[in-house]
């Protein structure tokens, strides 16, 4: 169960290959990678966070996932700072005996990270900069858990 909050880029493949170690009781690994999507005109994205609270909030979300599902390992990496279109923002990985646990835990982690971890995105375009508004759909997604 690991949490990393960092400005530096990361490589999902490298992380995925090692986050569950060499255990042979893992039958299923799920990963989610979030990327900076350019819907047209995006110059870059800036991500602000709340140092200290961020790590604690993510660790609490991860602990809740471990309580709910039979996970052998999990990993959350989230970047902050300036990111260009196509760059990786964050990733989540889960390892379990069976696929249902791995998928459910990964989706749960994503839903909670979206709305409960203290990150704020700002998009910079040719027209200026704007804070990304929270989506009702993201808040609503929490009610399924």
């Amino acid at each position: 169960m690991a949490v990393r909050v960092q400005a530096a880029p990361f490589d999902p493949g490298t992380e995925l290959a090692r986050f569950a170690g060499d255990r042979t009781d893992v039958g299923a690994q799920v990963s989610f990678t979030g990327l900076v999507r350019d819907d047209g005109g995006l110059r870059h994205m800036e991500i602000e966070h709340y140092p200290g609270m961020t790590e604690k909030a993510i660790a609490a979300i991860e602990a809740e996932a471990v309580r709910r599902w039979d996970l052998k390992a999990s990993l959350v990496i989230h970047r902050y700072g300036r990111l260009a279109p196509g760059e990786r923002i964050m990733m989540v990985a889960t390892a379990a005996g069976h696929r249902a646990d791995a998928f459910a835990a990964a989706e749960f982690l994503m839903d909670y990270l979206k709305s409960r971890a203290p990150f704020w995105k700002r998009e910079v375009t040719a027209d200026g900069a704007a804070w990304v508004a929270a989506k009702d759909a993201d808040e609503d997604a929490l009610s399924r858990w």
Binding site: Y50, S115, W120, W131, D138
Partner: protein, 82 residues
Amino acid sequence: MIDVLYFAWVRERIGLPKERVETEAATVADLVEELVAREARYAAAFADISALRVALDQELAEFDAPLAGVREVAFFPPMTGG
């Protein structure tokens, strides 16, 4: 004395990321009332409380939560991570 932190557009409207505040406020809502009374930029930041979130000592809380024993209060818009 309490540390008050602001993030994202709350930080931009108030014009600083952090300040130490001398207060006897009993709840978060009381603290907000004191800040709003100070200057227009605070009134602008706190104009719509329903658009804001608050954390007490780095845990999400409600605006009616008591401030007794709290060392750090943070105000920010709904989070947009992931």
